[in-house]
Symmetry: D2
Subunit: 373 residues, 4 copies
């Protein structure tokens, strides 16, 4: 399957009516979850779009500000059950914030049963359903069947730091996973610019609890999480092949990653500590390599030699703070990235993608500094 | 001393040059603390001012974004040691975010050794030095001598929900304390509109740790605070007379308050649970009384009968969420307010006051919803 | 109904076989919840009993150490579904750690359908089902019907600091609620020894999340609780009449309490800040009154004038730390108590009661200091 | 320098008077810090020793229970300034809980200026001063000069799972670091029993804040730590050579470790996620290798295939919970260990060592299950 051709099928010129001064109408399918609520919070500050349609099956008929009282006074919207025809009528761009498995079906319906989306609609899918290009790999790691493999590969992988130009022309963007965002941003310069062993890579990530979503369970009970750290999904987490797919594409060689996610007693944030072994000595300073790579990317900040990232400083934002260190004794590079899993790891990045698609300034709606302390 | 006359002395028409399209220059004296950093975070979103001057003795010469990496990419300012002449030259409005005791001297200097401030400068003092109108009461509760009692009473108490019009005309505003803000907003409608016993009032407040400031000590050591709740300053907290002074002024009768602050393991937020006994049965629904009182006040949200405030929902904002309940068995009213101690309890309110003083929309720079979760 | 007569019916001399060197067999009905697990944790250190029977319907067949890995290596017990006959055969004393509503039925069955328990069995019920002596009050506050009102009043209220001698002779003890334990210990000396107004009492309590139990829900989701404080059950919490009943009995006059519970982001601990107005000036120091009252009570520690309780210092223990302060301005006494809601507030106190019933040293199994930090 | 000879010099038969029924007298030099307080907490449950001497320069004259109110009612001891002669007179075994750098001098003095300790005294040093056998390596990683290199190598490395018999005969034990304890326990079976590449090892650890000690600073301010994760000491942490030294000794080949510690918002606990690459396929199940290795070691629990360690479950204990997993794709083994940094990572292990030295049951005083939740 030819990746560039597929992308070709769904790119296009943005309709004339959007370039005017009017606000663009956007909708959120599955607005009752944390990524939906974070989209709303961030879109409040966006000057060029208005949210016109928010859906939830479970909470239909309720005001979103009842579910999320932080939105009180900001949104008067009521949650509707999803109707595909209505969705298309009410919004020019849809964020899909459904769980994986559910998103497949909805995207298929929105695409009118044809192999390509309708020309009028833009879709940014925050689920994992369209990130992997292979249905087999999807089924192996997600442990569910993919019902619409014909759509795999049609979505542009929405990591602007790697795919900015493709995203600008896309109608269908698959928003990266939270862990892959932190890991790929940490590893991309290394894999693009240096001679590391492609199979030496370890990603050890520490995440806040909101990554587990809003629906309660033992794993997110306060008393189970508080005052504790644990690993989970050791060797089996479904974000692993996503990291490998994108870094392999970037590197041009098969990249293999050992990925261990951990749960940490905090609401938001992912710190990814990434390890890779060098094939030969570096010719430049490692920090310089990162500064060069991210020079033009407004949301990635390479920290100085005397600093290290802390998730707290990017809380509520679309930023990624990162530091790279050379461990001379072992010939390993250690790169540490901090993101907000709901920000650059989900909703913030989705809005960054929307800005690229709609031709807005890339940071529109994403300018607020992190909330500290 | 006649309060209204004093106010008269320092009110005035805002100079013409401010009404133009130019950005107003503002400075922050004592910018290295949490309230200083929060002012900067919030001012980033403000469209009508620019921060031109930030001071710190301890961190002079350092970039503010080094001290607060959440501000990286947002402010390139360096901290200077305070020089009064320079401060006046560089800014048209100054926020003073110094500890109590230190603020007195600085305000005195900024006021040119005369009894009234210079006509060109506006001052919003976030310390406790000018909130109380009596030097004796200040010394009794703050346990230090007031060096400039001649300035007491010259500042307008900057709680817009009670003093909006006075603030609009003020050149010198004393920003309310964090606990008094939550307590006064909770109690004002009751004391203004109902027959409660003036000496029956109890305020039981629960605060996050940032209220204790940035300088480390045993009381703010993570291991001392985490997984614990405690009361402190029982019967002796210096915010007590501030609550009494303002509520007495509102009520027209001596109000006496028993105030107990508590420390809770969280960064931000104050929940104040306030109790008062009714002299006679209420004639209207208690929630209705609150809705009427706060109808025109954009930052106070009276919650519905089936809701209660949680500090989390106002995190990072200038909002106050509150609920009032009548306990029929005891004839007591229980009012609960939630604010962010650095938001409506300090820097957010300071910006609201600035907006009033400078004739901007009251919510300019303060429109972001709370960060949840 | 005559309280002392009822107690008379169920008291008795402890069977001879118990006084020997053998370990007494105890069981836990409903061992899968937090109070059940805490009983096991504490009983591990107890030298005179062995746990022989643990039940759970939901987790039947599972090892308790699978559910609570902190018990791994300490208990090899499997959870069984409850069978009343088996329970009586396997244990000489049963802790009932079921939710209210469920406990009623089980206690009735254990009592052999007669109005009094069998002479061989001792029961300590940790639910709220037998704390109130009036079925009407139970139904009003618990919002469910009491199926076995004939058993109300037969249980001794298991607060050793008030009822030690009655507990020693009891066969059926109702273990106090977590909030009432903290509040009654804080208020008992005041109501017994001083002239406070009986209707002036306010109890403002702050609890950790384990008080809400192990079953997940939105209210205990980490992201809902963390970084937040809220009040709940304002004026309606079911522990209110329990406080009133016991303090009224102690005082000999009707005591009325306004009680507001709050949820705080920590696992364990309750801090209760209690307020009461004096009818006349105290003749002694308030701390002295408390020291005298609790002189002989090993688990209540009255702190010095320069200290205030913190829940952290009693974490994991059966202790209550408390401070009393006179607020001379208002004529109010403020008493603050700290307990562990699973310790003195539930399982620790249940073991203290067991020790009294079985004639063991009162602190057997309860000697460990709190875990700090 | 011959390790076994040195050990020979200081081993010996335990004096007769100790074998009687009397309590052994122990002292704690530097009792005001967290490890000192944790020693006291745990020794409360120990039936064969009594604490007779506790020192602190800063808090001399104060009761230890004033500094640590969780010890109220358990210890009536006052802190004294250290006097070496007094220490020897008052205690038969001394725990040294001083910071590194300070411990050197004190141990030298206790050893009577001779090269070997006096026959009457046993010393367990919890600092890092005597863990490394090379003064050069000490100075390189600790960044301070070692004043008494003649004592290096005289102490037995007090990890009972590797050195039990040597510890039994030792008079001078150097208690392992918190991170090395977790990492060595996780890696020892692998390095002893399998063909892993000695330079492929990565240890990624996540620690609670109490590891940073009791003295306040910006790094332990609640607002700096709460809701955040960060790495620190990347490639430079002083526990690295300790891990390498002990694992090299065990393996018989040079082991090199990349170690990255992280700070997590919790009081206690270290989770170490360790990675190593296999030279060849394993012939047995990885979990079986670990179960065999730790079969006789009471404090290490190898979890089942369906479990993973969480620090919460070992809170307050001397246990290490661990899981090993084979990642077949990469040929890596991932081993995860959980300890309490103040338990098995410091004071618990020190007591385990004392038990071995004094011939007590190894788990005396260490039998309590973890505190959950």
């Amino acid at each position: 399957m030819c990746y560039s051709l597929i992308i070709g099928e769904i790119k296009g010129t943005w309709p004339v009516h959007i370039s005017g001064g009017k606000l663009i109408k956007v909708g959120i399918i599955g607005a009752s979850g944390y990524t939906g609520a974070e989209l709303l919070r961030l879109l409040k500050a966006h000057k060029k779009v208005e949210v016109t349609y928010v859906t939830s099956e479970t909470y239909q008929g309720q005001k979103i500000s009842k579910l999320y009282p932080n939105l009180r006074g900001h949104f008067d919207l009521k949650l509707s059950p999803l109707e595909v025809t209505e969705a298309k009528k009410r919004a020019e761009l849809l964020f899909i914030a459904l769980p994986h498995g559910e998103s497949q079906r909805v995207v298929r319906q929105l695409f009118n049963e044809s192999r390509v989306p309708s020309p009028e609609l833009r879709i940014i899918d925050l689920s994992g359903d369209f990130r992997l290009k292979s249905a087999d790999i999807y089924e192996k790691w997600y442990k569910i069947h993919h019902e619409h493999p014909e759509l795999l590969g049609k979505a542009v992988y929405g990591l602007p730091e790697l795919n900015r130009e493709k995203i600008r022309e896309a109608r269908f963007v698959t928003n990266p996973g939270c862990y892959p965002t932190g890991a790929i941003l940490a590893l991309a310069p290394l894999l693009k610019k240096t001679a590391v062993f492609e199979k030496s890579i370890i990603v050890d990530s520490k995440s806040g609890v909101s990554g587990a979503g809003r629906v309660p369970g033992f794993q997110t009970h306060f008393c189970q999480v508080d005052e504790s750290v644990k690993a989970y999904g050791v060797g089996t987490h479904k974000h692993t092949p996503e990291m490998e797919q994108e870094l392999t594409a970037l590197r041009g060689e098969d990249v293999m990653i050992t990925f261990t996610p951990h749960l940490v007693p905090m609401n938001r944030g992912i710190l990814s500590t990434c390890y890779a072994s060098l094939k030969e000595e570096l010719e430049e300073e490692i920090t310089g390599i990162y500064e060069d790579f991210y020079d033009d990317h407004p949301f990635v900040k390479v920290l100085g030699e005397d600093e290290l990232p802390e998730t707290k400083y990017v809380l509520g934002t679309n930023y990624c703070h990162l530091s790279a260190r050379l461990d001379e004794r072992s010939g390993r590079v250690i790169v540490i990235s901090a993101i907000d899993n709901l920000g650059k790891g989900a909703s913030g990045q989705a809005i960054q993608n929307m800005n690229l698609i709609l031709g807005f300034p890339e940071d529109e709606g994403l300018k607020a500094p992190g909330v500290f302390p």
